[in-house]
Structures are given as C-alpha cells and as structure tokens.
Amino acid sequence: MKDHPSQWIPSGLTCRETAGLAGEYLDDRLPLLAGIRVGLHLASCAHCRAYFSQIVLIGEAARLFPKTVPSPVNRLRLRRHFAAQHSG
C-alpha cells in the first residue's frame, strides 16, 4: 500500500526536507509551525516514518551499549588518588 499525499493536508515539505529535520523534531526543538508540517508529512509518508523510526531505534540501541570501565590497575590508581585527596 502506498500513501498518497493528496489524501492528506499537504505539509509543503519534501521527504528530503523532512528527513533533514528529524533531529530537531524528535527533540521537540522545531518552531511550532515547522513541527506541525513535519507531523503532517509523517502522517502521510510511510517512508519518512520508517526513516524516523530507524533514527530513534539506533539512538535507543546506542544508549544500551555495554558500559566500559577502567582497567583494574587504572581503577586502583584512581581510588588511591581519590582517597589521598581526602586523607588530609
């Protein structure tokens, strides 16, 4: 099934323009009207919806990357240095 923009209120944005605003839109940083236009475009365009959901998904996955910590030797040095600052 293919969405057809003519069935919707036209946003006046191309897919290229919409995709370029993904970051600001997802952070709710667009001016009101621009945000509404992106919202309208997304409502009518499955491709841009797929694009936005991939951007969101990658961000969420990146946040779940396993945490890396200092090596045991470096950790020990840090703890000693930290303790030394508070021993006097």
């Binding site: 191309t14 897919c15 290229r16 323009e17 995709a19 370029g20 993904a22 970051g23 600001e24 952070d27 940083r29 365009c45 491709h47 841009c48 797929a50 694009y51 959901s53 991939q54 951007i55 998904l57 990658i58 961000g59 969420e60 996955a61 990146a62 946040r63 779940l64 990357f65 396993p66 945490k67 890396t68 910590v69 200092p70 090596s71 470096n74 950790r75 040095r77 840090l78 703890r79 240095h81 930290f82 303790a83 600052q85 508070h86 021993s87």
Partner: protein, 236 residues
Amino acid sequence: MNSVAATYPESLEQHPSCETPSSSAKATALTNEERRLIGRLRTGDEGAFDELVNRHHGALVRMAMGHVADREVAEEVAQDTWMAVIEGLHRFEGRSSLRTWIFGILIHKAKDRGVREKRHTTFSAFESCEDEHDEAIDPSRFRQSGEWAGHWAFPPQPWDEQTPEKLLASREAVEAMHKAIDALPATLKDVLILRDIEGVEAKEVCAILRITETNLYVRLHRARERVRTAVEAALG
C-alpha cells in the same frame, strides 16, 4: 601532571555562540542528584566516585579516540581526566553541570594530546566547515526531478528489528554500528556520543562542545545517517 585541566574553566555554558538562552542553563546547572553526588564525592565517598567513573568512562574513552591515535592513548587521556577531576573537585563551583565540566576536561586533554601526536587540529576545523554544507543523506536516494522531486526514490525499508534489544541481538548490526561510529570524524563523533550514547540533552551538548544548536543538529543528522546507513547495509 594535570595542572592545566585541574583548573579547567566551568563556565562553558556561557559561550556566546550557543543560541540557546544560557541564563536558564546557568540557574539550573546542577540537578539535585548532581548536588547530592558532589556532596558525597567531597566527603570522600569512594562508592560515589566509582559510580561516576562507571557512568562516563566508556563515553570519555570513545570521545578521546576521535582525537588521538589509538585506544591505548584514549584510555590514558580518560585516566588523566579522572585524575584531574579528583584534583579539581574541591574547586568545582557548579557553574556548569558536573558532566559538562568532566567532558570539557576530556576534550581539552584529548585535543592537546592529539596535537602533540601531530594529528594537526586544523584538519578537524576544515572537516567541520565541510560538515555544514554536505548533504547528510545520499542525494541519489531522492527523486531528482518531476512532480515528486525531493521525495524518496530509494526509501528506507522498514527493519524487522523494531526494538533496540532486538537490534543489539544482531551481531552484524552491532558490528556495523560500532564500525560506523569509530569511523566518524571527531566533530561528528563527539555529538553522537554525547547525545545518543550518553543521552545528554541538546543544550548541554552545545555547552560541552561550544557549538550552536543549529550546528549540533547538522552534525547529529550527518552522524546518525552514517550509522543508520551502515546498519541498513548490514541488515541487507
């Protein structure tokens, strides 16, 4: 050995190029959670320090890698940063968030180390200029002419991996993500690590990197698109 960074200025959020109003950032530089954490750190609570290190160490190393030659050096830069944090903590006044201050020290040290390694800094300056004008998404993915010019010619195909956990279960996807992130130039890597991996709010990323919000989103778009394209290719 940490004399420069131990006195690293906190007032990053006052950088004039940041378009967002800095006064509100200044008034709320420290959250209650951070205030409590700093209180614990100042009383010498080692558990609190371990927590702080665990929370940010990975991102510090990754960011340092954008500026220095290899992982080993990046680990050294991160270690030096923590040493400077320990030494500077009693002077930290909370004019920026604790995280902004820590990442500020890291960037300062990583750039300094990068210059000493003769990875010339002007290169990244050129790189960032180029960033502002290049297309983030490959233009050939859009129709070039006709009624639907600017609309997708080769649209992204919906992925089966609809949750981050499922995406992370795909070895190919994870490898592609790591490779793509590691290959990013420092200017793009910094924003992606802070915003997406660390989950730092946009305003704070601007303060840490001393860039405008417009600049942040241009870079973020480019960085995310490179990672997205890599995952797209990996998932076939």
